[in-house]
């Protein structure tokens, strides 16, 4: 256990230093994630008509939360992994007694900490500009939200890393991610809260992994109606499903990687 903690801390601290090297680029990435803020403007306008179940303030709170969730669950492992496979950089990592995935996990997790400071500044700025949207969620809601975001990141990472395994068979596995992104945009709650979707659509979407990536944690914090038990259950379930697929593809992929002469 002590050995594992030491490995984790070392990886995190070194990758943190690595991410800090790119702080200027990172600020641009944070800003690039401001789609929810734009959508917020559109929805606040639309809500003034009053035909949705949510008020303008609800929309404002929902989308500022979405902004934070997006910042905390950004994943790019498929592009990094694809490059490692195509350029053969995976080979030296395979010769170390540590699964290469931990390098990616450490990179992603430590990047959060660099990004968070800047993202929170933006959130503060938002509430100064739009004080009527400010609210304090209860501590229990906040803790549940934190857990949900951690799981949402784990789920998104596991899904993308599973797609990344296809890099062993095709040079452009990231095309898969681009296709998936289409569904992610519409079904996760990134463009609109699921609350405004027609009932039957909502019911179906709840069986996919998408709403748990954004809508579920956001609704938890804002206080929209959610089924907490089903939400967490589904997240854990989907993580396990993709984890299983991932390990299967990893083993099959390594055989293939070696077959092609590495």
């Amino acid at each position: 256990m002590k050995r594992i903690i030491r490995k984790a801390l070392t990886l995190l601290s070194v990758y943190y230093a690595y991410m800090v090297e790119y702080r200027a680029e990172l600020i641009l990435w944070v800003l690039a994630g401001s789609l929810p803020i734009i959508l917020m403007g559109i929805w606040i306008q639309a809500a003034q008509g009053g035909q949705f179940g949510l008020s303008p303030v609800d929309f404002a709170r929902y989308f500022i939360t979405v902004f934070v969730i997006r910042q905390l669950t950004v994943v790019w492992v498929i592009w990094d992994f694809e490059r490692e496979v195509v350029e053969g950089k995976l080979s030296p990592k395979l010769l170390q007694p540590l699964d290469p995935v931990w390098h990616h996990v450490a990179g992603h997790v430590s990047e959060r900490f660099v990004r968070l400071t800047f993202a929170l500044l933006l959130v503060g700025l938002f509430f100064i500009l739009y004080p009527q949207a400010f609210w304090l969620p209860s501590l229990s809601r906040f803790l549940l939200f934190t857990l949900a975001v951690v799981l949402a990141f784990a789920l998104r990472f596991t899904i993308q890393y599973t797609f990344a395994m296809f890099a062993f068979w095709t040079e452009r596995a990231s095309a898969l991610e681009n296709f998936w992104l289409l569904f992610y945009l519409f079904l996760s709650g990134l463009i609109a809260p699921l609350e405004v979707f027609p009932e039957p659509v909502q019911k179906i979407v709840m069986f996919t992994p998408f709403p748990y990536l954004i809508d579920f944690p956001a609704s938890l914090l804002v206080g929209l109606p959610v089924d907490i038990g089903r939400g967490f259950g589904s997240m854990v379930g989907w993580i396990l499903v993709f984890l299983g697929a991932n390990r299967f593809l990893w083993r099959a992929g390594l055989k293939r990687y070696s077959g092609m002469g590495a």
Partner: protein, 326 residues
């Protein structure tokens, strides 16, 4: 007891082939045709602990493929391999802790951070304690004369320094078996010598086994007591470097400087004239005929200077590969 045992090692893999032009591209899109490449065929050898062995062969001979099979990156199509008593492809921790593979200069180190940061990761990954880490880094830094370089961003290092830093990272866990693919590629003469000296030093200090490929013959002559010659996937020679010359170069170069220039026809009667420029002549003479020829030249011709040398190793090996015969 051998530390590396390879028996009838073979590897073939499919390569997609595409004919040029639009038609070829369209065909390539719909139906790929593959051709099987036999990269390594029936290679067997054993290496004892502490040996330094050079792995020679032209580009595409199968050297890198063999190294990859020995490190467990690829699975042999047939045959068996054992390194330090383990099957490499299983990549068990007990195996990984004992070996290292160095291939090129952009491998382990994080480009934008000082090398020391990447080394810290390696220390954690290989379970090296902080105290031991400090000690080993100090020792290796001294052996590689990298003082003061480990705290600079890797991208700011020169090619030679980067290669040395890569070596340091690859050797931090103190492996017993080193696989080195072109460790001096692209380095200037001084850096080549430094890397060579370091490898010799490391081999002696830790009784490490080293298998290295290089295109610089100087690496091989300076380091290796034994060479493996591979050509078109087959092992053509396994033995000492001197033995290689005996076997493939049973001739000597005789260089003379004449008092007066002579026509080539006359010189040809003494031996195979390789080169003639004014009064300077290069002969290629078989070893059995050497003394006879030299004394004949000295009696018949007016010679100012005469030297007899072994042909350069590069030339011998080049000739072997060109002829493709053993």
């Amino acid at each position: 007891m051998s530390i590396i045992v390879a028996e009838n090692l073979s590897k073939s893999y499919p390569v997609a082939v595409k004919s040029p032009g639009i038609k070829g591209t369209i065909n390539h899109f719909f139906r790929r045709t593959y051709r099987t490449i036999k990269a390594v065929q029936d290679v067997s050898f054993e290496i004892a602990p502490g040996e330094v062995v050079g792995f020679l062969g032209p580009n595409g001979a199968g050297k890198t493929t063999t190294l990859k099979m020995l490190t467990g990156l690829i699975h042999p199509s047939s045959g068996t391999v054992k390194v330090a008593g383990q099957i490499p492809f299983h990549r068990k921790e007990a195996f990984l802790q004992q070996i290292t593979l160095v291939m090129g200069q952009k491998q382990q180190l994080l480009w934008d951070l000082p090398a020391l940061d990447s080394l810290k990761i390696n220390a954690a990954v290989y379970d090296i304690s902080d105290k031991e880490f400090q000690r080993r880094v100090g020792e290796l830094t001294e052996m590689l004369s990298l003082e003061g370089k480990l705290t600079q961003a890797v991208r700011k290092l020169s090619l030679g320094e980067r290669m040395k830093a890569e070596l340091l990272a690859a050797l931090l866990h103190r492996p017993h078996v080193l696989f080195l693919d072109e460790p001096t590629l692209g380095l200037d003469i001084n850096a080549q010598v430094a890397v060579r000296d370091f490898l010799r030093d490391y081999n002696q200090r830790y009784q490490a086994t080293v298998l290295l490929t290089s295109h610089y013959m100087a690496d091989i002559t300076a380091l290796c007591q034994r060479v493996l010659l591979i050509h078109e996937g087959r092992l053509m020679y396994d033995g000492s470097l001197d033995g290689l010359l005996e076997r493939f170069a049973p001739y000597r170069e005789v260089h003379i400087e004449l008092a007066q220039p002579l026509p080539i026809e006359k010189l040809m009667t003494y031996g195979d004239v390789q080169h003639l420029e004014g009064r300077s002549v290069h002969f290629m003479v078989s070893r059995e005929a050497l003394t006879r020829t030299v004394s004949k030249i000295l009696t018949d011709l007016e010679v100012i200077d005469l030297t007899v040398t072994e042909p350069p190793v590069e030339e011998v090996i080049g000739r072997v590969f060109k002829a493709g015969v053993v």
